[in-house]
């Protein structure tokens, strides 16, 4: 039998708070983390709203002189990792270091730093570009810095699959542990691109909500009046361990990763396949990998970004996988509150699914005042619900048509 993989720690940095507790408290209370963007002047942009992480001080997590060497997404990853390790109690020592890996992805990487250095290049010339520009902004520096700071000497990898990035990171980490490359892995994703170029680029795609006058109501998955996603930022990191390894050290075993499914739409650069084909195969893949029946699933943390096309396709896909059971299970989108953390979304949402399993509570989809007629599932509208959840899925779908789904359950 293949090695079983459990979750022993969670660390979250989100627009609802710095830490798992404030984030979980926020989503269960139905709080929106969306507000007017404060990090830069958005007056010339069609979009003025975002889900920023508030009150984050890099100096709380790294020495002051090191701060400038890394862009914000790396700081987020380090902060979330520190909290995840603390909650798992995993100590990385000379004895176990080579058996502990790191798989942290980012969808876009250090775009704010790229912008700042490009401005220096244009205004002051190439000799003024910082020697820290490249290491501060490349996507795998989250995994790099985390290994340097924690001493984890096992496999060191970074995923980059747009909004599926951190679901893929967690899935890859699962496979590495199953295969025997490592006994424990720090896995997840981080993103911090609340800056001009990403906001302009996503705006030009008409991907973002322009509900500028009502930020808290802008992210409204499956609602008739949804008009795009809200750009968010943060990090979601989890500690995954081989079951016996976790038991031996008396770790807090929060949940077990049961299955991982992946697929590609092979269809369009940004639009999902209209029949939900790719999403269906990702979910079915996760069920098959975990030897699960569709009736086993109680709850899906949906990709649910609040885009007109994406939300309907996900509904179609859930029906395609689950048939009649689609109307019995709960489907909710925490993006209605956190905004869309892009490459960090899967990590944040995986962490929240673990909290749902542990606490027996499903966070709501807020702002779902009136769903489309086609969107007729139980989206847990407005308020959180207590429920006995044994198995949950978390979906992530990314530009390029890349899909990932993870199945998580309580350890039996």
């Amino acid at each position: 039998m293949s090695r079983r993989v459990v979750v022993t720690g969670v660390g979250l940095v989100s627009p609802l708070g710095i830490g798992t507790e404030p984030t979980w408290a926020g989503v269960t209370a139905g709080t929106s983390g969306v507000s007017t963007i404060t990090r830069f002047d958005t007056s010339d942009f069609p979009v003025h709203i975002g889900a920023e992480v508030k009150g984050f001080e890099p100096e709380d997590w790294i020495e002051r002189k090191e701060v400038k060497k890394f862009d914000l997404f790396v700081h987020f990853a380090l902060a979330a990792t520190t909290m995840a390790l603390e909650s798992s109690g995993l100590e990385i020592t000379d004895e176990n270091a080579t058996r502990v890996g790191v798989v942290i992805g980012s969808g876009i990487g250090g775009f704010p730093m790229i912008e700042r250095q490009h401005e220096i290049l244009l205004n002051r010339g190439p000799r003024r570009v910082s020697p820290f520009f490249i290491p501060s902004s490349i996507i795998n520096m989250c995994s790099g810095l985390v290994s340097i700071r924690t001493g984890a000497k096992g496999p060191n990898m970074a995923t980059c699959t747009a909004c599926s990035t951190s679901a893929h990171a967690i899935g890859d980490a699962l496979l590495y542990i199953r295969h025997g490359y490592a006994d424990a892995i720090i896995a997840g994703g981080s993103e911090a691109v609340t800056s001009a170029m990403p906001l302009a680029g996503f705006s030009s795609m008409r991907a973002l909500s322009t509900r500028n006058d009502e930020p808290e109501r802008a992210s409204r998955p499956w609602d008739r009046d949804r008009d795009g996603f809200v750009m968010g930022e943060g990090a979601g990191i989890v500690i995954l361990e081989e079951l016996e390894h976790a038991k031996r050290r008396g770790a807090p075993i929060l949940a077990e990763i049961l299955g991982f499914g992946m697929s590609s739409d092979a269809y369009h650069i940004s639009a999902p396949a209209e029949d939900g084909d790719g999403a269906i195969r990702a979910m079915q893949g996760a069920l098959d990998d975990g030897s699960l029946n569709s009736e086993d699933v109680d709850f899906i943390n949906a990709h649910g970004t609040s885009t007109p096309a994406g939300d309907i396709v996900e509904t179609i896909a859930v029906k395609g996988v689950f048939g009649d059971h689609a109307h019995k299970l709960m489907v909710s989108s925490t993006k209605s509150m956190t905004g869309h953390l892009l490459g960090a979304a899967g990590g944040l949402e995986f962490g929240l699914v673990v909290q749902s399993l542990v606490n027996g509570v499903v966070p709501p989809t807020i702002n779902l005042d009136e769903p489309d007629p086609e969107n007729d599932l139980d989206y847990v509208a407005h308020t959180a619900r207590e429920a006995d959840i044994k198995v949950a899925l978390t979906n992530s779908f990314g530009f390029g048509g890349t899909n990932a789904c993870l199945a998580v359950g309580l350890l039996d």
């Binding site: 020495e63 002051r64 002189k65 060497k69 000799r127 003024r128 910082s130 020697p131 820290f132 290491p135």
Partner: protein
């Protein structure tokens, strides 16, 4: 502000070290905890603050506080 005081201030700021550690003989790498990239950035800060250009061949020879002071005294902004 004289050259030495200004150099010291830049080093304290760039490398995040205590001012009393920035003695004339202090080596950026051996005594002040800098790595090779820190030194590159430090030299860029000297160029910026003193309004001078430090060619790579000269920059490679700036390894201590004294080296920096001497270069910047001998090559004032033109």
């Amino acid at each position: 502000m004289d050259v030495e005081a200004k150099v010291k201030e830049i080093i304290v700021q760039q490398l995040g070290v205590d001012a009393e550690k920035v003695t004339a003989d202090a080596s950026f790498v051996d005594d002040l905890g800098a790595d090779s990239l820190d030194v590159v950035e430090l030299v860029m800060a000297f160029e910026e603050e003193f309004g001078v250009e430090i060619p790579d061949e000269a920059a490679e020879k700036i390894a201590t506080v004294k080296d920096a002071n001497e270069f910047l005294k001998q090559n004032p902004a033109g």
